[in-house]
């Protein structure tokens, strides 16, 4: 039954995504934005003349692009509000988690696809070459790792509709800042690294870098496993969040507000 809910919701998500983007608007708007971001940081490596730094920033920003897309499902409850369907979902007897999880499945594929497109576009420019076959599966692990937190932000946005976007940006930029995207995590104090290990992207990116430099090692598998575990943990928190935040929204009468 849960699967059926998710599958039906996936259809809604797919149609919605299709109506939002055309191939062209996706490529020239969204993808170019991510390419620019990636190039900007890779250029720093070029500036200081370090090939290692170029590759570090390239891989980091490609992976962060996946997380950006997947966490973006957070403010998604706003769309349910604008359709007027959120109160009806609350009044239905099932949890909202399978609905939102299903609705956004497409964004996982989209996120990984974008990461790969950006890589293919930027790598030749900055002179990065090599065997990157590990990239797709590692990016998928990062997408899954980010999914749980994205769903939690979605749950949060039921309680505080106006804060959905703010929280999304805050979480994303925190993750980018301390997650080892442009600078190694080790430059931060220990406690910051500790906080980081509860965020998505962090372990997945470490695993990806390990895969690319040393191949299929136990350490790499361990990190990717941790990434999935972080995803699963946030998924559980999101489940509780949907119950708790809908209860709160019922109390203060915010369920059917449009904003």
């Amino acid at each position: 039954m849960t699967i059926r809910i998710a599958a039906n919701a996936a259809r809604v998500g797919y149609r919605e995504t299709r109506s939002q983007y055309t191939w062209r608007s996706w490529l020239f708007g969204w993808v170019l934005r991510l390419v620019a971001q990636t190039l900007f940081f890779a250029a720093m490596g070029i500036l200081v003349g370090s090939d290692d730094l170029i590759e570090f920033a390239l891989i980091g920003n490609v992976a962060a692009g996946v997380t950006l897309m997947v966490l973006g499902i957070g403010p998604d409850t706003a769309w349910e509000r604008s359709q007027g369907t959120l109160p009806l979902l609350i009044a239905a007897p099932r949890s909202l988690l399978p609905v939102f999880a299903g609705r956004n499945v497409f964004h996982l594929v989209q996120g990984v696809g974008e990461g790969l497109v950006i890589f293919v576009l930027v790598a030749p420019w900055v002179g990065v070459e090599g065997n990157y076959l590990w990239l797709p599966p590692a990016l998928m692990a990062i997408a899954l790792g980010s999914y749980g937190l994205g769903l939690f932000i979605a749950a949060f946005a039921i309680r505080k509709p106006r804060w959905g976007n703010t929280i999304y940006n805050l979480v994303y930029w925190t993750t980018v800042a301390i997650g080892g995207v442009n600078v190694s995590r080790t430059v931060f104090p220990h406690w910051v690294q500790q906080v980081g290990s509860f965020l998505p992207l962090v372990h997945g990116l470490t695993g990806l870098r390990e895969l690319l430099s040393n191949g299929f090692t136990g350490a790499a598998v361990g990190q990717l496993g941790l990434e999935l575990a972080v995803g699963a943990a946030w998924f559980t928190v999101a489940l509780a969040g949907f119950a708790l935040f809908s209860q709160g929204g019922r109390k203060d009468g915010t369920i059917d507000l449009v904003e």
Partner: protein, 317 residues
């Protein structure tokens, strides 16, 4: 017999929009009972608290105080049980996935209500036929007219075959023909034994389809009446409206027995309000005799009936 829906001393306040202001009281000490199998109307003007009450009963909103039950389940203590036995239909355009077809919308909600897979297809076909959407079932909802969307809303509300159905102003914005069709659909549901709680600001609608009507204004319940009483009010406070009435003729009419007041509307129409039944005919005859040819009767507004029947207590400010 257990009531299908009960509310006891139900109250709901909303936080004021600005700090320092008093909270908004949307419902105040509302106690009512809806009996199984009846169409119970909740009649009230804008802002009376109708939607607020439906939201509380359908577990979208919690009450500030008081209790409410649906088929014996408390809406606060056991919202899950309430959700399994109710259907909910809002009036208006919102609440449908406009990028999907009617069939796909219904499949979605069938999954959410746990309708078994093997029953889903046939149930959806039957519902689509019932609301007259079979031919357009696979077109996207964004291409539907307002009336078609409202019928799809009803089908959506019925997908779980609920025992109790809440309809919040389901005919608002529909043209007279579409409203009539919709009301006929609602009446067929009563024949199947469903309990229906319907809100409206249209007295004619309440009179036409409800078994009992609760009158609400500014959050307070004024009375619960049968449709005959409503019908009596509608005729008792019927108005005559006439165009092309000279000032002399208007003065003559205002002196007739049973005339409570006359009033010129901005477009020059003369509106004559009556105080008792049985005077409409003599008034119209007098107007015809005075050479007026464009004239007719209009039902009174809800506000007017409230004012007449309940006095200040029902006065909308």
């Amino acid at each position: 017999m257990q009531s299908a829906v009960t509310t006891t001393a139900l109250r709901r306040e909303f936080k004021p929009r600005k700090r320092g202001l008093d909270p908004i009281t949307a419902l105040d000490d509302v106690s009512l009972a809806v009996e199984p199998g009846e169409i119970h109307g909740l009649l009230g003007p804008n802002g009376a608290g109708k939607t607020t009450l439906v939201k509380i009963l359908s577990t979208i909103l919690t009450p500030t105080s008081g209790t409410a039950t649906v088929l014996g389940h408390d809406v606060v203590e056991d919202p899950g049980a309430v959700r399994r036995v109710i259907g909910l239909v809002f009036g208006g355009d919102r609440g449908l996935y406009t990028l999907l077809s009617a069939r796909h919308n219904l499949e979605y909600w069938a999954a959410l209500y746990g309708v078994p897979s093997r029953d889903t297809g046939s149930r959806i076909d039957a519902l689509l036929a019932r609301v007259g959407l079979t031919r357009r079932a696979d077109d996207r909802v964004e291409t539907y007219s307002r009336g078609m969307r409202q019928r799809l809303h009803l089908a959506r509300g019925l997908i779980s075959d609920p025992e109790v159905l809440f309809l919040d102003e389901p005919t608002v914005g529909l043209d007279p023909v579409a409203s009539l069709e919709f009301r006929q659909l609602v009446m067929t549901l009563r024949e199947e034994g469903k309990t229906i709680f319907l809100t409206t600001h249209d007295m004619g609608e309440a009179e036409a389809i409800c078994d009992r009507v609760s009158l609400i204004d500014r959050g307070a319940l004024l009375a619960t009446e049968g449709p005959e009483t409503l019908g009596r009010w509608i005729t008792a406070y019927e108005r005559v409206e006439a165009r092309g009435v000279t000032d002399d003729a208007a003065t003559m009419v205002s002196g007739l027995p049973g005339v409570m007041s006359t009033q010129r509307l901005p477009d020059g129409t003369l509106r004559i309000e009556t105080a008792v039944t049985g005077v409409v005919r003599p008034i119209m005859e007098a107007l015809l005799a005075a050479g007026v040819t464009e004239l007719g009767t209009r039902p009174p507004s809800l506000e007017e009936v409230y004012l007449r029947v309940f006095g200040d207590r029902g006065l909308q400010v």
